[in-house]
Amino acid sequence: MTISIGKTDLTFRDEVRERSGEDVHACFYCQKCTIGCPTAFVMDYQPAQLLRLIQLGQKDKVLGSSAIWMCVACEACGTRCPNHIRLAPVMDALRQMALAGDYKPEPAIYALHRAFLDNIKLLGRVYELGLVAEFKTLSLLAGGPATLFRGLGADIKMGAGLFLKGKFGIVPERVKRMNEVKKLYEEAACE
C-alpha cells in the first residue's frame, strides 16, 4: 500500500515520545508488530505503518486513524519488538492526543470506554447491565443507527444467553468511600 505524505509536523513525533515514554524513533520497520497484531486486519494503517507515519510527522493521518482505536492493548507487539518499543502505551498516548485535539474517535469504541469510566465514577465499580445500557445509548448518539445495529443480533443472543444463565448481577454494588473515587477523578481532571 502506498500512503501519500501530507503536512509534516516534526514536533508531533517528539510529543508522542514524550507522552508515551517510548522511543518511537528506534523503529527500523521489521513489521513484527504488524504480523503479530490480532486486530491489524480491521485497522486502516497497520501498527508498523503507524510508527513510520509518526516518525514522518504525519499528525493528522495518525490521530485521525481508526487503527489507534482498534488496538486492544494485548501487548504482543511490544513483547516482540527487537528495539523494545512498546506500542500499547504509544496507542494510549495517541488516543488521548486525538481526543485533546478534536479528532473524531471510533464512535462505538469511544462509547464503550466512556460508559466504563462513567460507571466507575458513579459506583466505584462496574455494573455490567448498566454499562451495556449506557454503551448502547452512547453508540446510538455518537454513531447513529449504523453503529448501534452493527452485530446487534449476535450481541442480543449472547447477552440473553448470559442473562438466562444468571451471569449478570442484578443489584449494582457501590463502593463505600465514594469520596475517594471522586478525588481520583478530580485529580485526573477526567470529565
Binding site: 490480532p38 486486530t39 480491521v42 482498534m70 486492544v72 492493548a73 494485548c74 501487548e75 504482543a76 511490544g78 513483547t79 512498546r86 500499547a88 494510549d92 498516548a93 488516543r95 488521548q96 481526543l99 471510533e106 462505538a108 469504541i109 462509547a111 464503550l112 470506554h113 466512556r114 466504563f116 469510566l117 460507571n119 466507575i120 466505584g124 465499580r125 462496574v126 455490567e128 451495556v132 454503551f135 453508540s139 452493527r150 452485530g151 449476535a154 450481541d155 449472547m158 444467553g161 448470559l162 444463565k165 444468571g166 451471569k167 449478570f168 448481577g169 454494588e173 463502593v175 463505600k176 468511600r177 475517594e180 473515587v181 481520583l184 477523578y185 485529580e187 485526573a188 481532571a189 477526567c190
Partner: protein
Amino acid sequence: MSSKTIEYSYYPGCTAEGTSVEFDRSARAVCQAVGIELTDLEDWSCCGASSAHSLDHELARALPGRNVAQAQEAGLDTVIPCPACYQNSMRADRAFRQEEDWRRKMESLLDFEYTGQGRPRHLLDVLSHDIDTETIKEQVVKPLTGLKVASYYGCVLVRPPEVTGWDDPEHPTTMDALLEAVGAMPVDWSYKVDCCGASMTFPRGAVVAELSTKIVEGAIEAGANCIASACGICQINLDTRQAVQDKMPILYFTELMALAFGLDGVGKWLGKHGVDPRPLLRERDLLAR
C-alpha cells in the same frame, strides 16, 4: 483441606458477581482446599479495565492505585483472578515503587502509607509458585485422567514480561503443570498467548468472533477436548463467540481443579457456561450423571 494455611488479601474484581461468578467461586474454593486463606480488600474499586488507560493516563494508575493502597495495612500479597485487574494493579504498584512524587500525592489523597510489603499477584502465579505440587496432588480425589486440555493464557496475563514476568511470555507452562498435577493431559498447541479481542466484544463482536474461532480451531486441531482459561473475558469470548461445528467447552482452570478435588458447587458453576461442559465430563465419568 491442607493443614498449613497461608494468608493473602483478595481482589475479586467487578465481574466476580456477574459474568465471571463461577471463576470467583471456584477460585475461592480451590484456594481454601490447598490452604490459602483469602481476605477480601474491604472497599475495593474497579481497576479501570482497558478503558482508563485508553482515555486517561492519570486515572489508569490512580484507580488500581486505590486498591494497592488498601492492601498496605495487611501487608500481604493480593491474589487477583482477573488478568486485566492484575496487570493494572501491577502497573500501579510499580508506580508506587518508582515514582516518589506520585506516591506522595496518592498517600495524601487517600490518607495511607505505602509500605511495599505485599504485591499484587495473579491467582495462577500463587497456585503455581507458593503451593507445592505435592499439596495439589494430595487434594485430588478424582484425577482428570484422559481429559485433553488446551491451556489458554491469553494476552495480559503474560505480557508485557517486564510487568508480569513470572512465566514465559511466548510459551507459558504454569497452567499446564497445574492441570497435569490434577491428572489432566495438557496438549501442545500454538494459540496459548493469542488475544481473543477482549473488550472489543462490545463494540465489534465480529472481530472477537473471528479471533475466538481461530483459537478454538487451534485447540481442536491439537486434539483437545476443552480449553482452560485464566481470564473472565477470554472465557466469555471463546464460550459465546466461537463459530465452529462441534462447540468446545471453555472452563476456568480453577473449575477443573475443583472438579478433581471433588469440591461442592462444581456442577452449579458448570451449568452457567454457554457451551455446556457437563456432557463431556459425564462421558468421561468425571461428573455424576
